[in-house]
Symmetry: C2
Subunit: 309 residues, 2 copies
């Protein structure tokens, strides 16, 4: 099953209360791709980098079986660069630097082999780029997953809504679900968003887990309680990658299997936050992932006898 | 199975962004007792009220099969009064008024029939009163559950620790678990608290659910995603009441059954927050409670096929 992933490939520089990094490998498409490639063999990336991007990072992506035919290299340009500092609670952060560089005028081009994917993930990017990708598809994918953020709600409202209308699964955080609908209740916000196009909505709540909605049902998965969170960067993207990877592997887009995809996404995110950058996603085995999933089963499963019986 | 509940019986006056009340029935022991009495027949309350407390509220407690032999009435005194205003997010609030009144010099007295309970809940109160109750027990209960709050950590640290050392289950919120231990990670905070006396720890996270820890395991239950939260007052106490009520009904204090008790507690809390004050807890049937529990089962259950198989 083929997956196309569109998003940023970037340099990140991260400060936490405990440590800091130099410029390291980051970007939404990087995290989504690395997580998805744990489950699916045919992961195809669409992004852009500058001439400053190290061969070492490109090799890392290739070694994780990510196809880079759709990765544009602009030798004269500089790669997208983001720097942020996390607060003591590790839940909130300040952006210190955002340099769009080659991303500023990015025109995505889908190679011939990318134009009929089974699954498509539109990572967080300007809605204009997300639309350009949709226009180049020869056939509608079985499932289109879209991530976005509050910034596009502030700056590109109409284009954003037109992309949302075309996708199957929208992933946003709780604040973004509220901003998108003007509803404080996440249940009401979800029902509104499900009239805007998507059949499924994932609301990411960081350390408080994630909710999956369709019009009839709701499913909740907690985040794994961890002793240490080292770096939350990329957790949401890693979640999306594990989510789509599981769906592509199992070829089943029922609500029940979307629940399982949420668990696999949460398991992958728990690896991501335990180390800096993409480090936690490298060298994982299926055994390690399944052990993590078993922790989720233990965390939430109960066997109840009802009081009215 | 007998339950003794110690805590406040009070007047509450509540403002939310949507509505406000006059002085209505409130207090930790009230919520704990009303929730526990849905499951257990022998619920015995220890508290104090003034001569101003309306007969109507006393009847309400009696009609819910709560034994009031341990409820002291001070005809010359005024009942404990609390007033608060919730912020727009319904998660945080300002206390507008706290009048201790008869609570200021409360000396709890356990009637003879209360002195050998199977289950004891020490609701949130000054640790001195919680200690006085423990001293009057003829026999150690099968399970002692204690609730407390940050205020006692600031003002009565040593007494607080000496009560904590004597109980089986401590319930606190996430901020309080952090304050009690100086650990930001809830996993680390839990492990520290479990060296202070309790065999089990419940960390309440409000709309984000609750965690149950023992030294070996952790269990998580979400809060039910609701369309509307009308009044969060008493949600934590209602949770504790449903928790102890389920344990008393099933006579089983294994970790697996404590998980179920967390679910019943969460179900009861979901009723409490849907209406003002104690209104949501009156007129419930076992059928209604079980329907709510089934929503929790649907909310978290998944049936996963592992990737390494």
């Amino acid at each position: 099953m083929s997956i196309v992933v569109v998003g940023t490939v970037a340099f990140d520089k991260i400060e936490t209360p405990f440590d800091r990094t130099e410029r390291i490998l980051g970007g939404a498409a990087t995290y989504i791709g690395l997580a998805a490639s744990q489950f699916a063999e045919n992961v195809n990336l669409v992004s852009v980098i500058g001439g400053d991007f190290p061969e070492e990072y490109i090799s890392l992506l290739r070694n994780n079986h990510i196809n880079l035919d759709g990765l544009q290299v602009k030798p004269e340009g500089k790669s997208f660069y983001w720097s942020g500092r996390y607060h003591a609670d590790m839940n909130s952060r300040d952006t210190l630097v955002t340099e769009l560089n080659v991303l500023a005028d990015f025109e995505p081009i889908l190679p011939e082999s990318y134009q009929s994917p089974e699954f498509l993930v539109l990572g967080n990017l300007t809605p204009r780029v997300q639309l350009r990708v949709l226009e180049q598809l020869k056939r509608r994918p079985r499932l289109i997953v879209m991530d976005t953020m509050n910034f596009w709600m502030d700056t590109a409202w109409d284009e954003l809504l037109s992309v949302i209308a075309k996708v199957d699964v929208l992933t946003v955080n709780d604040g973004e679900a509220r901003q998108l609908t003007g509803e404080y209740s996440l249940v009401k916000a979800a029902q509104k968003i499900l009239t805007m196009g998507p059949k499924f909505l994932v609301i990411k709540k960081g350390e408080h887990g994630a909710l999956l909605f369709n019009k009839e049902s709701v499913f909740f998965a907690p985040a794994l309680p961890l002793e240490e969170v080292f770096d939350p960067t990329g957790a949401g993207d890693t979640f999306a990658g594990g989510f789509i990877g599981h769906l592509a592997r199992t070829k089943d887009i029922s609500f029940d299997n979307l629940k399982n995809a949420i668990i696999y996404g949460s398991a992958m995110a728990s690896f991501a936050v335990e180390k800096f950058g993409t480090e936690g996603l490298v060298g994982l085995t299926h055994q390690m992932i399944d052990e993590r999933v078993r922790l989720f089963v233990d965390l939430v499963q109960f066997d109840i006898s009802l009081v009215s019986k």
